[in-house]
Chain length 410, copies 2
């Protein structure tokens, strides 16, 4: 078997006679329908299966939100709208997508450390929940809402006094640009109360891309404790608690898929305690990558096959301008290959080590470094797995003036 | 003085009473004229001064090309067209910009490891020089040119048997996706000759962002030797030799600006030897970053000023979605700050360590990590220097749905 086929993320996809299937369609046929390479393809059956799995494992009273930043493709956001309980957005641009998709404003939260006055005005006009990241932002929200003659909906984003160990990205604990330091929150609540500002609840996000169920469960329990302590200071009962997300997906050979069972058990306790202490509070889990990351493929065609000083290079029509994360240039400390395979040869054994490179004139444009693959020829489709989140959206599409990829929801 | 003011890249800019001037205009006034922050501003006087300096230091018979990929802003490409002798492009998109700017097709070269048939067709139809990266590409060029009924113009991109030590990016030597291994070129020339394909010359690019004049001079001498050896195999006299570029600019505190004098002296020898051995050959130096990198500023406004656990964070309306390189996420192994300053306070002493962060909801969005700065307030403009090359063009502008920056040529 190929290196790729060993990866559980690849084994999860159906094949027929060496062809990769997506939504029951052979990938080469899909490429004809799309009319171009490269493209990203997202599998709606896999997305809804993932949401279904989360629903089964997690307590019924927990709201499941999708973090639009993970994949803002309009059709995908529309597809997810009826499947999840709410959306989290990080800009006015994402807010527009969330509303366009039909998500009711009351189920949209907006976090982000640098909200402009214009964005705050849009958010307040829309009636969504604004997750304020500083005392200054609370003041700005109050002033803009007065100007609009509307009561704003405000939660506080908290920078906790703990962090999520082993996360791909640390977003809480220590000094941070995100949120209000937990120890400063009581004073801020008192000031807001004095100013007649109502705080609905809290958003506490400790980290992302974590594969340890134990760590995630521990942090969720700590998050609840912190929220309950802070809620005692509020003028009104707690109505909203965003527990963050942080559920990781396996990208690399030794990554183990996250075990949802212990997280679900722990969350059942968390929501039960919350219901006892703060019966009006709605608990929210905010997931982006975990919902869509494994449902997406990046597909690019081999334009040239070169030998250079004993090494094989597959030169493709794609590259880091479409998929920066796969090139290892987006927050990764050590570059590792995303799972990769050659369509049409899914049943062939690995025959060689080949590097998959993009069409850009820069050595950074490396999609797979010396991967074990069957022998690929010019015209073959190279598939990069685990590409459903932070793929196209996080890539420098204009770099070197090549055309953008297509995106399809299958 | 501030940490920023110590950096020679900052000292090179004029100020008046603490205000930074660009093209004689105070930056705050320019921001009003632009009508928004963030924006990139490029100083045409600095660009032409840099070209003038290169003209003075380099031999008259050497052609100076601009590598459009460094900054493809249309107005900037138009401004450079009459100043330089040619453009190098890396895609059909850049080719269109080069032609739109009025650069004659005969002075445009096209390199890139993954040229599509469509791009090759466009390039051949335009009559530009195609720098073929493999034997397969030569075959495709021949076939497309026959189909078009046009004689193609072809050079070979060579992967040399040496590299440019200490480069920011290594683009030659060892196994590479770029070019044809030097040792394989004689056979390829023989095959081309047999097939009636004319090879005009060679493109040999060993690396980029190098600050050692000695290393660059050494590689240029080696490049000439390699080209002359290979030229003996050509059916016709050598007509074109692209010596690459690789001239670096100082980004970080200990970086010393490149000393052009020894490079100029060495290039005088290189072109003299070339003129003797191959009198019809035009020698080309291809520079991108060196021409525009130091002429550009990224300007973003402070939206929030936060203290978190003893550290100061300046939250701005910009971020890595506009300027990925300044966040340290574009090819840098170790993250270091680009030179940074606060407009309006250029004459104030550093008072604090402050981190400049962007508006994105990700910890990667760090524009300056604990920089020594005067105390900045909400509304102040933060300036990131050395932002004229590989700034906006190499950034994931759509990430998180925020608006794009403006770009102005002043």
């Amino acid at each position: 078997m190929t290196e790729a086929a060993i990866h559980p993320a690849v084994q999860a996809w159906q094949t027929a006679e060496g062809d990769l299937l997506i939504g029951g369609v052979p990938l080469a046929r899909l490429a004809q329908r799309v009319g171009q390479t490269p493209f990203f393809a997202y599998d709606r059956a896999r997305i809804s299966a993932r949401v279904g799995e989360l629903r089964r494992r997690l307590p019924d009273t927990l709201d499941l939100h999708f973090a639009v930043k993970a994949n803002p493709m309009a059709a995908l956001v529309c597809f997810l709208a009826p499947l999840v309980d709410g959306f989290d957005v990080a800009s006015a641009g994402e807010l527009a997508k969330a509303l366009d998709a039909g998500m009711p404003a009351r189920h949209i939260g907006f976090a982000g450390p640098g909200k402009t006055d214009r964005e705050l005005r849009q958010a307040i006009a829309a009636g969504i929940l604004v997750e304020a990241e500083s005392a200054g932002e609370v003041t700005r929200i109050k002033s803009i809402a007065e100007d609009l003659g509307t009561a704003p909906r405000i939660a506080l984003r908290i920078n906790p006094d703990f962090h999520l160990k082993g996360s791909g990205m640390r977003m809480g604990g220590g000094p941070q640009q995100f949120g209000i330091d937990a120890e400063d929150v009581p004073d801020l609540i008192a000031a807001a109360r004095a100013a007649g500002v109502v705080i609905e609840g809290f958003h506490i996000f400790a980290g992302s891309q974590n594969l340890s169920a134990e760590t995630i469960a521990e942090v969720q329990a700590k998050t609840l404790d912190l929220a309950l302590r802070l809620a005692d200071r509020l003028a009104a009962p707690l109505r909203y608690l965003n527990l963050g997300g942080g559920f990781g997906i396996p990208y690399f050979p030794n990554d183990k898929p996250l075990d949802l069972a212990p997280i679900g058990d722990n969350l059942a306790e968390v929501v039960a305690k919350l219901a006892t202490a703060q019966p009006e509070a709605r608990a929210v889990l905010e997931l982006g990558r975990y919902i869509v990351g494994e449902a997406g493929l990046y597909v690019t065609r081999v334009i040239d096959r070169k030998m250079s000083r004993g090494e094989v290079f597959l030169v493709t029509d794609g590259g880091l301008h479409h998929h920066l994360a796969a090139s290892g240039n987006f927050g990764q400390v050590i570059r590792r290959n995303f799972p990769v395979a050659i369509d049409g040869r899914m049943n062939e054994a690995a025959q060689e080590k080949a590097s998959v490179v993009g069409c850009l004139c820069t050595p950074l444009d490396l999609l797979a470094d010396k991967a074990s693959l069957p022998r690929a020829e010019i015209g073959d489709l190279v598939v990069i797995f685990q590409s459903g989140a932070y793929g196209l959206t996080a890539s420098p599409t204009a770099f070197l003036g090549h055309p953008p990829p297509a995106e399809v929801l299958v």
